[in-house]
Structure formats: C-alpha cells, structure tokens
C-alpha cells in the first residue's frame, strides 16, 4: 500500500540525515531524496563524450546498404581477414616443410604428421564430406566408399591415396586418372549362369555354396582382374571379392546386379582446386583413419605390374564415387 502524499511534498526533512523526503511511503518506510554525487554527473557526461568520439571513429549509424564506415576504417570482416592472414603466416613454415617432402617421408615425422592430419581434417570437412561423410565412412547405398577400413580398391598406402586425390578416379579432367571399366554381362550369360556366378563370388568369402560350373565361369571371365581366389588387384583397381566389405552391397541380388550392369564410381581429381600441400594433408588424414597401409615395402605384385591406366576395361570396377557413368 502506497500512500502518495504528493501534496505534502513541500520539503519535509528527515531529522537524522537532514535530507528531503521524496514523498513515497511504503508501510511506514519513506524514500529520501539523497543527492547524487556531482562526479557521477561528470562521469555521465564523459560517457556521452566517449560515444560521440566512438561514432566518428567506428562504424555506427545504420544506413540503407551499410553502416557509416568510421574514420578508422575498422570492420569485423577486415579484422577476420587480418586474423586469417596471421594464421596463414604462422603456418607458412610448416607448409614449406610439407611442400618439400614426399608423403612417405611425412609418415616418418610424427610431429609434422600430426599437424598434417589436423590440417587434412579441416580440408576434408570442406571438400570431401559431401560424398564420403563427416566420419569418412562413405555411403553404401550410393557406393561412396568408407575410408576408415583397410579395404583399398586402388591402394591404401599414403602415396597411392595422394595419387588418387590428385588425379581422381575416372575423372575426365586428368589424363592420368585411375581408370578401368568392368564389362556388363547382361545378355552374355543365361540367368542361371549369372546366379551361379554370383553365388561363387559370395562363396569366396564363405557366404554361399558354389559349384564347379560357376567356378569355371569365374576362372575364365573374372579371375584375370579379381584374381582366382577373389583377392582383387589394387594395381588395376579390381576390388577384392573375398572380404567382408562390399561397395555396392553384399547379398546375392546386389552381386547379380553388379555383374549384369556394373556401376562405376567417379571421383574428381583435386589438383586443379587444391594446392599440393593441402592434398598431402588430406592424404595424411585419410591414411590416419585407421586403415592406412604401410608404404615402406614396395608392393609385391605378382609378376608383371601393369601400368595403372591403359588396361582394357573388362573387369568389375569399384571406385570411390558412383555417378551413373560409363
């Protein structure tokens, strides 16, 4: 309850303090009109003066397009640009070191490798996650391969990964791109033969029973690239068929579909978009995901190691991207 004695306000004085009452009273407690210290007023004027200076120096008044610029020319974008420049400059030594060494040498240098992996992780988030996913686990339903596992179609040591990154897979932009094609067997064999062949492919990893005729068919048509036991051949980009990992699905129907009408993924080469150091860092990151192969021993390829490209496209190809393209 507020007894507002505005009328009696003609400066009633509080005895002990000698201060005027304001005239507000709450349950017998009255408000005194204690004066503010004078310096408080000056402080207030100082803040007003400060704001005038600020308005002149810094962006302040919002206009239609943008705010007034301020005589100092400061902007948050400009500050960000400076920060970025500083960060770039701080990395220049590291990048120069990286530019001067091969990826295989990089693996021998844990400290640089750590920085490269961190840099690669950042670049991966910008350039690679669209297909390979944020966790680099790929998408089986689209045929984007998982980069975390130890199954590599075109080779999983760090320099092979780097090569794939530079030239891409079935990528028109590079004449050194990784290239192969598996022929379509639609119309070549009977349905029963295709069934048997698919079952034989599954039997290589113990998932189905095979028979002699299908084994024969496999040996004649598939073993050249996929190898007799289905171990695959990284040199030609022929995926292993005897393991637990399937790019386009691993049940009977999936395998049949792939034999009849194989899909061929495409991955762009990145040499025209990313600088070599970033590509090295990306290679380091992909290699560090837990499935990277050691690179010190040269690949012991059986007999002749064919050049990667110029092969007759006749084998099942599984690559790092599956645009419906031939």
């Amino acid at each position: 309850m507020m007894a507002n004695d505005q009328d009696r306000q003609e400066s009633r004085i509080d005895e002990p303090t000698g201060t005027e009452f304001v005239g507000h009273e709450w349950d017998g407690i009255e408000e005194l009109n204690t004066p503010l210290p004078r310096w408080w007023l000056w402080t207030f004027y100082a803040t007003v003066a400060w704001s005038l200076v600020y308005v002149v120096l810094y962006p302040a008044w919002p206009l239609v397009e943008r705010a007034t610029a301020g005589t100092l020319g400061w902007s948050s974008r400009g500050e960000l640009a400076e920060d970025l420049q500083r960060a770039e400059a701080a990395q220049s030594e590291f990048k120069a070191q990286l530019a001067g060494m091969s990826t295989a040498e990089l693996l021998e240098n844990p400290e640089l490798m750590q920085r490269a992996v961190a840099g690669g992780a950042a670049a991966f988030k910008v350039n690679c996650v669209q297909c390979h996913g944020a966790g680099a686990a790929g998408y089986e339903e689209f045929g984007y391969p998982n980069l975390n596992d130890d199954d590599w179609i075109w080779g999983g040591d760090i320099s092979e990964i780097e090569y794939t990154l530079i030239h891409g897979i079935r990528w028109e932009g590079s004449d050194q791109t990784r290239l192969n094609f598996m022929p379509a067997y639609d119309g070549v064999f009977e349905d029963a033969q295709i069934d048997g062949l698919a079952r034989h492919v599954l039997s290589l990893s113990g998932k189905a029973e095979s028979d002699a005729a299908s084994a024969e068919l496999y040996a004649q048509n598939c073993a050249a690239c996929h190898q007799p036991a289905g171990e695959g051949d990284q040199a030609q980009g022929a995926p292993a068929l005897n393991d637990a990992i399937w790019l386009y699905g691993g049940d009977l129907d999936d395998v049949r579909t792939q034999i009849l009408n194989p899909r061929h993924g495409v991955m762009p080469g990145w040499s025209d978009k990313l600088d070599p150091v970033t590509i090295k860092m990306l290679a380091a990151y992909v290699h560090s995901r837990g499935g990277g192969e050691a690179s010190e021993v040269p690949e012991e390829t059986p007999g002749d190691a064919p050049p990667i490209m110029e092969d007759e496209p006749e084998e099942l190809a599984m690559a790092e991207r599956s645009d419906e393209q031939r």
């Binding site: 400066s11 004085i13 509080d14 005895e15 002990p16 303090t17 000698g18 201060t19 005027e20 005194l32 009109n33 204690t34 004066p35 503010l36 210290p37 004078r38 310096w39 408080w40 007023l41 844990p110 490798m113 750590q114 992996v117 996913g133 944020a134 966790g135 686990a137 998982n146 975390n148 596992d149 130890d150 199954d151 292993a240 393991d243 637990a244 990992i245 560090s288 837990g290 499935g291 990277g292 050691a294």
Partner: protein, 511 residues
C-alpha cells in the same frame, strides 16, 4: 555519509538518537547538517584532509600497509625450482598455457574448483572477520584503503598536514600551487604506474617481462593492462578515495547485513561523552558536561571525513584512527581512554546501564564465529586433502559416433576412440594403455602406432605437463562381440599411477 544509509543492525529500537545532537538541519551543513530548503540534485564532494595521528591503531595500519604492499610487489619475483619442464616463478598465472602455479601447487583448468574453493574460503573468511571485528577488511586490508592511505601520506609529504592542505585547497591557482600540485600528481602517477606494472608480472616470467616491457617488446595487452591499472589507481586512489567506499563498493552494504549487536565496531560512547562541551565549560560545570570536549580531533583524523559521534554509518571503515586521536586527547585532559573504542552494541548497552567496560576480545567468544571458523577450516582441510591426494594421471575416452563401427576386410569389427592422456608431472612420462574386458584377440593401434603393431596394450609417451590426444582403433575379432569395456592407463614410472575409463563397444547388432 548519512546515518540513514548506515547499517541498521539494531533489532529493537535503541536510543541512539541521543548520540546525534546535530539532528537539526542547518543550512549548508552537508553530511552532518541539513541542506537548504530546496536541495540540490547533486552533491559536491568535500575534500577530506585528514590529520596526521600516531597511536597503536595507526601503527597497526602502517604494519598492514607494509605487509600487503610487500606481498603485492615482491611475490612475482620469488623463484621456485620446478625442474626443466616448468616455469620457475613461485606464483604465476600462465594464461597462454592455462596453468596456475603457486609454489608447489599447480592447477590445471579442469581443477578450477580449487580456485573456486579458495574464493569460497576468502568469502567465508570475510564473513568470519566481519562477524568478529566488523569492517576490519575495509579499515586495514582493502586495496582501496591501502592505496588511499599511501596517497594521503603523499599529500601530507608535499602539502603539509591538515590545516596547510585546507589552506592550499582554498588558495588561488598560482605558480607555487601549480608546482605543488604538479609534483604531487607526478608522484601519484609514478605510484600508479608501479602498481599497474607489478600486476602484469603475475602473468608472465617477471624478469623477462620486466626487460621486455622497457625495451618495447612486451605484448600489447601488457601495456594496455598497465595503462588501465595506472589510470584506475591514479583516479581511485588519488581522487575518488572515500567516494569509492561510500558510493561504488557493494561490500559495505553486504557487511552491514552481517553485523549484529555482538560484532565489534568503532563506537562513540555517548553516555560517557554527552553532553559535550569545551574543556573550559566542562571545568566550570563538571556535572553538566560529559567527557567529550568537542575538540573534533576524531573528525580531523578520519580518512573518510565522517563524524563517528553520529553513530554507525556507511562511511565508517572502522580504521580506528579516531580511537587513537580520542585516546590521546583523553590522556591529555586526564580522563580514562576509550571514549571512542572498539565495542559491540551489546557491550555498549550494558556499559551505559552502569556495568564496567568489558575487554573487546570477549566479543570474540561467540558460537557464530566458531561455526564460520569451522566451515572455513573444513573447506581448507578438504582442499589440502584433495590437493595432496590428487592423481597426476588422467584418462578420458570418447567413442567415435560417426561411424559408430566398421567392418575390416577379415570381418573384424572396429571402433575408434579419442583418448586424452593427461600427464600432470613436470616431466615426460611413458604410459601404458590396456584393454580390459574385451574378448581374446581384441587389439588396438593408434594414429601414431601402425596397424602392423596392433596389440592389446600399447605404450605411448606423454610430454611433460601436457595432455596428449590419441586416436585409438580397437578391433574385436570376427565372430566375437563386446559391449562395455575399460581402457586402463598406467604410468610406467615408480609411481605407477592408474586411471580407468569405461566405454562401449558398438557392433553391427547394436544399432
């Protein structure tokens, strides 16, 4: 400065009004008198020119000033050997590396609760002190008080004592006044710069920073900090002074709520002093007048310029200089000391009813004090115990969620984990990570240990005073499954400190 602002700790009405004879408004009287009929919206500050005084409390204040300033200026220069991997500054707040060093204690960011504990102790400590001896913090140890005191001594050194300073204040500006003010403010500025300068030494290696600062190589933030602290010291200590206590600081308000009738405060014993009158009058009519001869010495020496005889008020920081002043006057006129004295309101009540004066320390024997002390001590002991027994090794694990698991070529299921191995010793340590509770044949490798060397235990080195982040890849062989399991971290030194972290293993069937 008005007693209406003063803490009203008195539960039942007491007749303190009789101690306030100057209640009648007199024009132009400011704090002690009344304003003119139409009072100003703003109040001009009245400069305080406190008179020099000597006495036990002044000497105590000197001692506290020397000790607190010495702690402030000397601490960053104390060296403390921590071996080759840690700084050798005894007290260092290393913001860049997020470490806080205090002699043998090193605090990491995750142990900030120790700092919180120290702040709680400081808080409870202030409650304890306030309950016992009132606003002793304000009167003796508060930086605002210490620096204001210092600046008031500078005033006295350049401009003389109270009367001379008041004369100079009123004198018109002329060459001599400009000279005096200029040199005094220069000294203010020097003190302020040294104050700001010492502050930054707590945040970096003091000798290095000291040299860098003068060769212009220190960080911008160092110069900015010194600049800001120089300005605030100059302004708050040199010019604002008691205005900070009266208008800005929340602490007097909080303390007012913690004082009660049993807290020691600086009190004018009105029943003994009133009716006040000059010595001559008192000698003529001894029966009519009390002990107070109205010499206003207590007002003259007060660093906040109040009249303690008006009773408890927000402007009183209980520095007790008025006790020194009054005791000296009482001695001179041959009356017992203690007309103004440390006493509780309860003691005053009993004394005014005729009891003999009680020694002030008796006020300290109260349960509330022991409870505060108990709480304060318990927090301290708990912190010491926690500090003494804390492990210098720590492991945290976070499983990858994307992908939650994946198959390897041979059908084995792999999960990935991010481990953080913490080494809080100031030396590099080898640590062993082991898998506990996974099926036989489960192995682990890391981003730094090749898959060819996968095993159920791995050894990694963690740099001195660092946390190492390790990505661990764990596979459970084909046909086996797993759910909960544990990473066990063991330091491979004589301490063999251990920490474990339990996490989950996800397989194809778990989603």
């Amino acid at each position: 400065m008005n007693s209406a602002d003063a803490p009203s700790t008195v539960a039942e009405p007491r007749d303190w009004g009789s101690a306030v004879p100057a209640a009648k408004p007199k024009p132009g009287g400011g704090g002690s008198g009344g304003p003119p009929r139409h009072q100003d919206l703003y109040e001009k500050r009245k400069s305080v020119h406190n008179k020099r005084i000597d006495g036990p409390f002044r000497r105590f204040k000197w001692a506290i000033m020397v000790v607190t300033l010495a702690i402030y200026y000397v601490t960053p220069w104390i060296r403390w050997d921590r071996g080759p991997y840690a700084p050798d500054q005894a007290v260092l707040v290393d913001l860049a590396n997020r470490r806080f060093y205090m002699f043998d204690i090193e605090i990491w960011p995750h142990e900030f609760y120790f700092v919180a504990g120290m702040l709680i102790m400081a808080g409870v400590g202030l409650f304890l002190v306030t309950t016992a001896v009132g606003r002793a913090w304000c009167g003796y140890a508060c930086p605002q008080t210490v620096w204001t005191d210092l600046f008031q001594h500078v005033d006295r050194f350049f401009d003389g004592d109270r009367n001379a300073r008041m004369r100079l204040d009123k004198a018109p500006w002329g060459p001599s006044k400009i000279m005096r003010r200029g040199s005094k403010w220069t000294v203010y500025l020097l003190i302020s710069m040294v104050t700001g300068g010492a502050w930054i030494l707590y945040f970096a290696d003091a000798p290095t920073l000291f040299v860098d600062f003068f060769t212009g190589e220190a960080a911008f933030v160092a110069y900015a900090t010194v600049g800001i602290l120089t300005f605030t010291t100059f302004w708050l200590g040199g010019f604002m002074r008691e205005q900070v206590c009266i208008y800005m600081c929340p602490w007097p308000r909080i303390q007012a709520a913690m004082l009660d009738e049993q807290s020691l405060i600086v009190t004018y014993k009105d029943w003994r002093g009133e009716q006040r009158g000059s010595l001559k009058k008192a000698q003529k009519e001894p029966d009519k007048y009390g002990d107070c001869i109205d010499c206003r010495e207590c007002v003259a020496v007060c660093p906040t310029g109040i009249d303690i005889r008006e009773g408890q008020q927000i402007g009183c920081i209980t520095c007790a200089l008025c006790i020194d002043a009054c005791d000296r006057v009482m001695k001179d006129i041959g009356r017992p000391r203690g007309l103004i004295d440390y006493a509780t309101l309860d003691q005053c009540e009993r004394e005014s009813a005729g009891a003999a004066p009680e020694p002030a320390w008796k006020a300290l024997l109260r349960p509330r004090l022991f409870i505060y002390f108990g709480v304060w001590g318990a927090i301290g002991l708990a912190m010491l115990f926690a500090l003494g027994t804390r492990a210098h090794t720590d492991l945290t694990v976070s499983p990858d969620r994307n992908p939650p698991y994946l198959l390897m070529k041979d059908g084995a299921v792999r999960n990935a984990y991010t481990l953080r191995l913490r080494n809080m010793e100031a030396r590099p340590r080898e640590m062993e990570i082991a898998l506990v509770g996974l099926p036989a044949g489960s192995v682990m490798w890391t981003d730094a240990i090749n898959r060819e060397e996968a095993a159920a235990t791995q050894t990694v080195e963690v740099a001195a005073d660092q946390t190492r982040v390790v990505r661990a890849y764990v596979t459970v062989p084909t046909g086996e499954s797993a759910n909960e399991f544990t990473f066990r971290l063991t330091s491979l030194d004589e301490q063999r400190e251990q920490d474990t972290a339990t996490t989950t293993f996800t397989g194809p069937g778990d989603l």
